[in-house]
Symmetry: C2
Amino acid sequence: MFRDFTLNDKEREALNAISTKIHKPAKRRIYTQGEAGRYVYRIRSGAVRLEHHLHDGRNHIFAFIWPDDMFGTIEDGVYPASAIALVDTYLFQIPYAALLNLIEVYPRIQTLFLQQALNYTKAAQRHLLLATYPLVLKRLAGFLLECSKQADFYDQHSNILTLAMDRKDIADYLGFAVETTSRMLKELEDMRLIKRLSSQRIVLDRRKIMEIF
Amino acid sequence: MFRDFTLNDKEREALNAISTKIHKPAKRRIYTQGEAGRYVYRIRSGAVRLEHHLHDGRNHIFAFIWPDDMFGTIEDGVYPASAIALVDTYLFQIPYAALLNLIEVYPRIQTLFLQQALNYTKAAQRHLLLATYPLVLKRLAGFLLECSKQADFYDQHSNILTLAMDRKDIADYLGFAVETTSRMLKELEDMRLIKRLSSQRIVLDRRKIMEIF
DNA sequence: CGGCCATTTGACGGGAATCAACCGCGGTGG
DNA sequence: CCACCGCGGTTGATTCCCGTCAAATGGCCG
């Protein structure tokens, strides 16, 4: 439900009026877990990772955020996770206070957030599915397929996927060790399902990958 | 945000007017994955599991649903998961069609769903955290702590936890084999962190469990 | 060229899956 | 009343996947 919802011109304009366009270079922190949360963000271009630092030293990546997606949920007034730009990223920064006022005037804007929340929930379920797949090879295969859905990072014609994240990020997202990322990429390459052009640029054979997934 | 939201009397009444009280005995299916989704549910008492059947034969449990929680999200008109009562369960059944009409009249009811979506996402994140914990023992320890938050199933005084789900359900939720559930329960008992009264009734030493978690 | 960092590769050990068998309990029917 | 069965839970033996530790390689920038 609420799948086909879009804002009208007036609503969009009002939302733009309270938004600021900001820019973050690659690897730059946007906010930190535990910090007071004053803004919600929407990606114009680039990519972001949401990570949560655990007491046992592990770093848990909850989600990768892509263009048009929003992030910046707060819990008890603070951000429960850190947000870090993966690549050169352009954002809309929207102050919560102004947003809540705006929703009073244009209640339909809230639907936008409901939509985002539902999308995010779906993404969380797919993530859970991936991260608990018994074989690590299949986790990675599924991950590559997920990434190839992002038009900005996958070229349909050449089948070249540009990874916005490094090996450690992938490992933290899928729940295994950095070394395993390398090993499994090698195995996929040995199986002729992918071809590594460089560490970040990979040619995919989506059909073959789907077969083993 | 939206944490402190509650319906007023009029809204609650209107919602009740379109709801039907229904009952499902233990192990009874409420709906099946792939089925056309016409209702959303809210648990009055009991417990429900949401599971997704995978093509490789595994059964993936996305969530356990407790009293006051809602479930029944649809994707493309159908339920993406099956819902099954774990124990004798009483529910509110709310038709989607009537609900969408009601939101037109009382837009604030939508906030209830936004709230639910955000809660669900939080739960999904905790689930992910649990299910990817490197040591199986800690996964189970964390799971028992989660369960002990449900007042209907955990007695604060006697510290007795009543498990609504069986060993297989726990295994499917935490991402390991049935046998592992048994083995780890035994290990927790050997460590004097729990005591099994029967297969479903367990005395917890929450303090000690938190220490190892 | 040299240093740093990300990535890759190798060797080894451990933890959990798998494949079995066994146990305990409730239900059923002779 | 008890033997039999079925099902959920437990335990044991073996295998293997992946984490860990260690070292080598490669790319990038000063």
